[in-house]
């Protein structure tokens, strides 16, 4: 398509945008253009900076550096109100609608009434009807939001943005809540909008959507915009590689251990949420002693739920879990720990550590109640101190002393604390979820070494990672998760980045 040639001037341009949060660059020198009449995708994993970039574009966040231009003029966007006035509208992933109000009442929120303080819902309703008919998706302005389907609610969001006069419409992960049929409707609407000359930005991590509607796509990784590809020249594996894989930095020497007895076997695990959405769909696998099963997949395809079920945080709605041959129907995180299993949670700060307690406190969290460290309810200081000292040196935790608050350590050292705590118990099963996320190369290498060591000692490991290289270098077998299902379990010798990338993108088989 040659829409770009017709409109050479970009509608919207971000150049050199940087945004730093404490301890992390959410965006780093990110640049991005959107043209009128074009659908451009922003592709990237969770945490790649897509949402931060778009929050900057809509005035929710202020950039630390960089320039924003709209219709050729430099602009400063201080608030969502500013963005709206310019003509930038955002459709959020989680709808910003008041369920008990009607479509028109929702659209009237934030719109300036003609005769304040009287609201003019009726005029808004008429306007909505007119706009919705123009773009060919009729909606009753007097319907209550709570009576509408998810797809219809999303159309209301789009309609509201259009009614406010948006020239640029940003959609944040619009399909995460839609059924395939609803996606068909949405894609039709998006194409219609582009044909009318609106600029459309589609934030996603699903390739199929981009191939279906987008003209172009910008790939983000680690806060940087690292690629700008016309969809007609793009291939799924190439995009997957850009999005997920850093180039091979580390290769761990493959270690073969003859697998022993099964440690964890999972049959037909299902999980359904309150609204009836299937989060996990008949998951089956088995992990033996001395074996690492990798779970590859784009973030948000059920990995977090799988970890939550396996570690006892939530109960599966269906299916069976066997640990070392015996069934474990219902278990709490405490039971999980006492069975001899350990987890390295993906959300380190949220679930792995207590930032405002000391290194020592964090090291003893999951076994302070055992006889080795407690006597009749009182903590035994000497053995605790000895162990702390040993772990600090064994796991090379770089800290001035054991009493320092965990908050004051670097991310890599915080992760070493988690590893030390979980591995020192010599667990039979280790669930490592995104164990190297956000770590520098040295720390990554250390994590790999420790996981390999755990394997050599006969421990079973479930390694969940969005880093393909990580899985390819560590795992013995790979399961690919898409949409809450395990598509296929491959032997590591049959797996390569391309094949996994295709599977992750939703292809049945390769």
């Amino acid at each position: 398509m040659s829409r770009e040639a017709e409109v050479p001037e970009p509608l919207f341009r971000l150049s050199g945008i940087s945004k730093r949060f404490p301890g992390i660059w959410a965006c780093r020198d990110a640049s991005f253009e959107a043209f009128a009449g074009e659908i451009v995708g922003i592709l990237g994993e969770n945490g790649a900076g897509k949402s931060t970039l778009m929050n900057i574009a809509t005035g929710l966040l202020r950039p630390d550096g960089g320039q924003i231009e709209f219709e050729g003029h430099p602009v400063t966007i201080r608030s969502p109100m500013d963005a709206r006035r310019l003509g930038i509208g955002m459709v959020h992933q989680h709808f910003m609608l008041v369920p008990t109000m009607t479509v028109a009442e929702n659209a009237a929120i934030g719109a300036r009434p003609r005769r304040p303080p009287l609201s003019d819902v009726r005029r808004v309703a008429a306007h909505l009807r007119e706009v919705s008919e123009r773009y060919g998706f009729p909606i009753d302005p007097n319907a209550r939001i709570e009576d509408l389907s998810v797809g219809a609610r999303q159309r209301v969001e789009i309609l509201r943005v259009l009614a406010q006069g948006a020239k640029l419409v940003i959609l944040d992960e619009p399909t995460s809540v839609l059924t395939p049929q609803e996606w068909d409707d949405l894609s039709g609407i998006l194409l219609a909008l582009a044909a009318e000359g609106k600029g459309i930005i589609l934030i996603t991590h699903k390739f199929d959507e981009l191939f279906a509607v987008a003209d172009r796509c910008v790939v983000m990784r680690d806060g940087q915009t690292i690629g700008n590809v016309a969809m007609k020249d793009a291939t799924k594996p190439a995009l997957a590689r850009m999005m997920v894989g850093r180039d091979l930095v580390l290769r761990v020497e493959p270690v073969h251990v003859d697998p022993g007895e099964p440690v964890l076997s999972v049959s037909d695990i299902c999980l359904t949420d309150d609204t009836g959405r299937q989060l996990l769909d008949k998951i089956n696998f088995e992990i033996r002693e001395g074996e690492i099963l990798g779970v590859a997949g784009v973030d948000g395809n059920g990995q977090d739920e799988l970890v939550a079920v396996l570690s006892g945080l939530i109960s599966a709605t269906d299916g069976e879990i066997h640990f070392k041959g015996s069934p474990v129907p219902q278990f709490s995180p405490r039971d999980f720990v006492e069975m001899g299993a350990a987890v390295i949670p993906a959300d380190r700060h949220g679930q792995g550590v207590v930032l405002d307690l000391s290194v020592e406190d964090n090291l003893m969290m999951s076994d302070f109640w055992t006889d080795a460290f407690s006597k009749r309810g009182w903590l035994r200081r000497a053995p605790i101190h000895d162990r702390t000292r040993r772990l600090i040196s064994e796991f090379n935790i770089r800290t001035p002393n054991a009493a320092v608050l965990l908050r004051q350590l670097s991310g890599g050292n915080q992760q070493r604390v988690v590893l030390a705590r979980e591995l020192d118990r010599h667990p039979k099963l280790l669930i490592a979820a995104q164990p190297t996320r956000g770590l520098d190369v040295g720390a990554v290498e250390f994590v790999y070494e420790r996981i390999t060591q755990h394997k050599q000692c006969g421990g079973a490991t479930l390694l969940i990672s969005t880093e393909l290289d990580e899985i390819l270098s560590l795992a013995d077998r790979v399961a690919v998760m898409v949409g809450g299902r395990v598509l296929q379990i491959l032997d590591i010798h049959d797996a390569d980045a391309e094949r996994l990338g295709l599977l992750m993108a939703g292809g049945r088989s390769a």
């Binding site: 730093r20 404490p22 301890g23 570690s311 945080l313 709490s332 995180p333 405490r334 999980f336 720990v337 006492e338 987890v343 949670p345 949220g350 679930q351 792995g352 550590v353 207590v354 930032l355 405002d356 307690l357 000391s358 020592e360 406190d361 003893m364 969290m365 999951s366 302070f368 109640w369 407690s374 309810g377 009182w378 903590l379 200081r381 605790i384 101190h385 600090i392 040196s393 770089r398 800290t399 001035p400 002393n401 054991a402 009493a403 320092v404 608050l405 004051q408 350590l409 670097s410 050292n413 705590r421």
Partner: protein
């Protein structure tokens, strides 16, 4: 456990902030007195005189401080497990009711009767806190609301009991008969003001501070308030910990209820016997910033304000509501100093991050851990 220098420094700062909050609160209060036309200097003198002027005044201040220490500890135990037990008042009332009923209806020799009545008070406090704890654990009912409402219910129950089943028929006032002397809380030594609840409160301070710092239970509480989901993941039964803390909090309030009733000057239980101690105890807990030892100076301050405020009103006619005024100012100041200090701290941390200085260096230990 070992405590790092930076942590100590931070604790010293929070202590200083509490002192500063008190000073500023007092300055504001006296400014208000001045604006109302009373002599400021003389007011201060009378306040001081009333609180600490003689050994008798001092003893009265200390006697008032004792229940405040216990209630303050009750607040702290709960708050350290991220529970806001606003309803200490209600737990004091139910504790008092249970102690009264036991004293009136259970015949026992001196000493035994006292112990039984005190125990009944504790049970009452635990029971009343237990309702809110169960609602929290089973139904996720916000404890701020449930304890507050339970306090209102307790007030009504007390009113009904004192005008009905427990009422002294020979009196027109709503109050009980004189409690049997076997259950009186005895005076301490030859004092005629201080009672045996003073050593009890000191013991509670020591015990709680040891439990919080040295026991597995204290550690669990730190984990739960530090990061409940991480604690849960690590195998701590977080709900159980919070319920236990809630019950301990209630038991301390119940103990206060019993000691107020059994140590009452009139030897009867009357409406309003609990008045002020629940709320003032929360102020003490807040001012102490979660430290059991901190409840001693905090409770002393609040007690002194009450005691001195009485004389100030008698001599100068300055309304003793000044005490409430000061307390209110102090609570607000403590509340704003918390986010204030954390903001300053995080801004400093940001500056350090941005300058690229490593946060922690090698094990040799020359790192900056400011």
């Amino acid at each position: 456990m070992n405590v790092d220098r930076s942590v100590l420094r931070q604790r010293a700062w929070t202590g200083l902030y509490s002192v500063a909050a008190v000073v500023v609160g007092l300055v504001i209060s006296f400014a208000a007195i001045g604006l109302s036309g009373s002599p400021i200097g003389e007011s201060i003198r009378q306040l001081f005189e009333g609180a600490l002027g003689s050994s008798g005044q001092l003893a009265a201040t200390v006697a008032r401080m004792v229940p405040l220490v216990l209630v303050g500890l009750g607040w702290i135990v709960a708050a350290r497990s991220a529970i806001f037990n606003i309803g200490l008042d209600g737990q004091i009332i139910v504790g008092g009711i249970c102690a009264t009923a036991t004293a009136l209806y259970v015949d026992a020799p001196t000493g035994v009767a006292l112990v039984l009545a005190m125990a009944a008070g504790i049970v009452g406090g635990v029971l009343w806190a237990g309702i809110a704890a169960m609602l929290l654990a089973r139904r996720h009912v916000n404890e701020i609301i449930s304890t507050l409402m339970l306090s209102l219910i307790a007030v009504q129950i007390l009113g009904w009991l004192l005008s009905g089943p427990l009422k002294d028929p020979s009196q027109t006032r709503s109050q009980t008969e004189t409690l049997p002397s076997e259950s009186f809380l005895p005076y301490l030594g030859n004092s005629d003001v201080l009672k045996w609840d003073l050593p009890l409160a000191l013991l509670a301070v020591v015990m709680l501070s040891v439990v919080l710092s040295r026991s597995g239970f204290g550690f669990r509480m730190r984990l739960v308030s530090g990061n409940e989901s991480a604690a849960h993941r690590a195998g701590v039964r977080t709900t159980r910990v919070r319920v236990q803390a809630f019950l301990i909090s209630g038991s301390l309030a119940g103990l206060v209820g019993a000691s107020l009733v059994l140590g009452s000057r009139t030897h009867t239980t009357a409406e309003g016997f609990y008045e002020g101690f629940g709320f003032d105890g929360i102020v003490v807990g807040l001012l102490a910033r979660g430290s059991p030892w901190g409840t001693l100076p905090a409770a002393f301050l609040i007690a002194a304000l009450h005691q001195g405020g009485g004389l100030m009103q008698a001599v100068l006619g300055v309304p003793s509501q000044l005490v409430l005024f000061t307390q209110g100012a102090v609570v607000v100041l403590v509340a704003i100093s918390d986010p204030l200090t954390s903001r300053i701290r995080s801004r400093r941390a940001d500056a350090r991050d941005a300058s690229g200085v490593p946060l922690a260096m090698g094990p040799a230990g020359t790192a900056n851990v400011d």
